[in-house]
């Protein structure tokens, strides 16, 4: 069927199917090994995570366990000296609080850029775009001092080793990328909707709340997903701000687990792999559940004018 869609000279039409088949086969010959290369590291760690203690250091090693030990995934939560369930909870608290702040304040800021004229708006928008390529490392040190020295001077105690430094900045627009993304989306909402609402006596707050937000659910979902991933995966900020292992999120907790002295009699790599996969699992679940938002959001980041 599709053969006829190609507009090629009729002379070669007879040759066409076989050539096409050869090409398809060649593409699969490239795609399948590539897919195997991408999937193998995961398969290996999944296999390891299901091994028993005696298998994990068996020599020569095996790729898959004789009997999958699904209980490893439960055992991770009751490890000696590694409060993994605590890490999971901490990650959820930090990520959740930062995500809510990001979605709310990014939407508010984006509305200001999308729907109002104000002196300096276009300049501020240029500034916003330029912060997209700003390496965050340049503010790492002063931000640390802002959460250490400034509260010490004001309230007499440091905010280091609390969650404030990890959450509070997200409540200020939630990052240029999110503001940009929502602004682009708000711009596409027809102005007539606002104007009709103004005639009905709606305030800008009501327009935002009752027109913009309900119409922008896909964009808000996209921002929520990116914000989730960013905070769930964040390593350098918790590393700088947190000292007490009880307060660690998963990213620090996983490294903490990895650095525990290993007992040669009782290897724990199978549990370490289970822990790593438990950290990846929510991200994969969200991706599978919200693929279209995901892809759209990433694509939108690539089409700035």
């Amino acid at each position: 069927m599709t053969t006829f869609a190609d507009s090629s000279p009729p002379a070669t039409a007879v040759m066409r199917p076989s050539r096409r088949t050869v090409r398809t086969l060649a593409l699969y010959a490239l795609a399948i090994p590539l897919a195997i290369m991408f999937a193998t590291p995961f398969a290996f760690s999944l296999g390891s995570s299901l091994k028993s203690v005696s298998e994990i250091h068996a020599f020569p090693p095996t790729f898959l366990p004789a009997v999958p030990q699904w209980t490893n995934y439960v055992a991770v939560f009751s490890l000696r000296g590694v409060p993994f369930e605590r890490f999971y909870m901490n990650s959820a608290v930090i990520t959740g609080s930062a995500l809510v702040g990001t979605v709310i304040t990014a939407a508010i800021s984006a509305y200001g850029f999308a729907r109002f004229r104000w002196p300096g708006r276009d300049f501020m928008f240029m500034v916003l775009l330029s912060t997209l390529v700003l390496p965050e490392e340049v503010v790492l040190i002063p931000k640390f001092l802002m959460f250490n020295n400034v509260p010490k001077a004001l309230i007499g105690k440091t905010l280091i080793d609390t969650y404030w430094p990890l959450i509070l900045p997200s409540w200020f627009g939630g990052g240029a990328f999110n503001v940009f993304l929502l602004r682009q989306f708000f711009m596409q909402v027809p102005r007539e909707f606002d104007e009709a609402a103004v005639i009905d006596g709606a305030s800008s707050w009501q327009i935002f709340w009752m027109i913009m937000l309900p119409l922008s659910r896909p964009a808000l979902a996209t921002v929520a997903i990116f914000s989730f991933l960013g905070h769930w995966n964040d390593f350098i900020h918790p590393l700088i701000y947190l000292n007490t292992s009880d307060k660690f999120p998963l990213s620090l907790g996983l490294r903490y687990f990895q650095q525990q002295p290993t007992d040669a009699m009782e290897p724990r790599e199978h549990l370490l792999m289970a822990a790593s996969l438990l950290m990846v699992a929510p991200a994969i679940a969200i991706y599978l559940a919200a693929q279209r938002y995901f892809v759209r959001g990433i694509v939108m980041s690539g089409i700035k004018g």
């Binding site: 590291p41 020599f59 390529v133 503010v139 790492l140 640390f144 200020f172 800008s204």
Partner: protein, 315 residues
């Protein structure tokens, strides 16, 4: 336009001549981000610029030292400065072309209309969802010399004494590259390329085919020129991401063995938060910032020579 009556009543008293109340409404809405920019970006940057000219360890007040921190770095008193800077740029120089080419290749493959494309896309994409820490922990186990998957594979293929991938000084960098590529090639870059490829108008391919252009010619003269804006975007983002490499190296090798994977941001972190040389580390941060901005500006300038914009459609 929407004008909040309450806001009007409050602001009109303070409004300078020529500014109207609704200007303030706009400012007010945008203010979370604007405040955030002042508080978490501009303010800290200026503070960091000041600290770069001081000696500071948190306990004592900053001591002004002029350009000492910069000369210390540049003249080689800090023995790790030039090697870590060079290593980081060399890393970007190798990694950016490899990951861009890899992403473009996988995107092209996904754009062929093969059966099972959705599954392939998921398989390519999932590694990029792996948090950097989990990625490093996972690959440390794969690279583990005795029980790791890679050496197991090599032994079954007949290699008698496979190396320690992350513990051998000459192999640590390539090993880091492989694991980073695994997590990067099928990620956002690939999806952006895919969108770019799907944005190429079908008529152009048809026209080229009528003119007798083969597949290679069509790719060379239709796809590639129309894809240059996408390539440019991915290039700029990719360079910055590569220069900022930290977590994977920090967790997988800790910068070793013998500083062979000691990246610039690792050096910055160590100097600032382990040695508490906050003044000197601020200078390191500013050197990095200036280099990144310079490189990005240069890229923007050079882009005029090779990036093709079909229409200057405004966003």
């Amino acid at each position: 336009m929407a004008t909040n009556v309450a806001a009007l009543a409050v602001t009109s008293r303070f409004a300078p001549r020529g500014l109207r109340a609704r200007d303030f409404v706009g400012w007010l809405w945008a203010s979370p981000w604007i405040l955030g920019f002042l508080l978490w970006t501009l303010g800290p940057m200026l503070w960091s610029l000041y600290l770069a000219f001081t000696q500071y360890n948190i306990i004592r007040t900053p001591l002004f030292v002029g350009f000492d921190n910069f000369t210390r770095a540049i003249q080689g008193a800090d023995r790790l400065f030039w090697p870590s800077l060079g290593r980081t740029f060399a890393w970007a120089f190798v990694m950016v072309p490899l990951s861009l080419a890899g992403s473009l290749l996988t995107a092209l493959l996904l754009n062929q209309g093969l059966r099972g494309t959705a599954l392939l896309r998921t398989i390519f994409f999932i590694p990029s969802l792996t948090p950097a820490v989990a990625l490093a922990v996972l690959w440390r186990w794969i690279y583990q010399p005795d029980f790791g998957g890679l050496n197991h594979l090599l032994r079954s293929a007949g290699v008698t004494s496979p190396p320690g991938w992350l513990t051998d000084q000459s192999l640590s960098m390539p090993s880091l590259m492989v694991m980073t590529l695994w997590g990067a090639v099928g990620g956002g870059t690939m999806l952006i390329f895919l969108a770019g490829l799907q944005g190429v108008p079908q008529e152009l391919y048809e026209a080229a085919e009528i003119d007798g252009a083969g597949r290679t010619a069509r790719f060379r003269h239709v796809t590639l020129p129309l894809l240059t804006p996408t390539i440019f975007f991915n290039l700029v983002i990719g360079i910055i991401a590569a220069l900022r490499t930290f977590t994977t190296a920090f967790v997988a090798t800790g910068g070793g063995p013998n500083y062979s994977t000691w990246f610039y941001i690792l050096h910055l972190y160590q100097t600032a938060f382990q040695n508490l040389e906050l003044g000197y580390a601020s200078a390191l941060a500013w050197i990095f910032f200036v280099l990144v901005v310079g490189l990005t500006t240069m890229n923007l300038r050079l882009s005029r020579r090779w990036v093709y914009y079909e229409s200057e459609a405004a966003s």
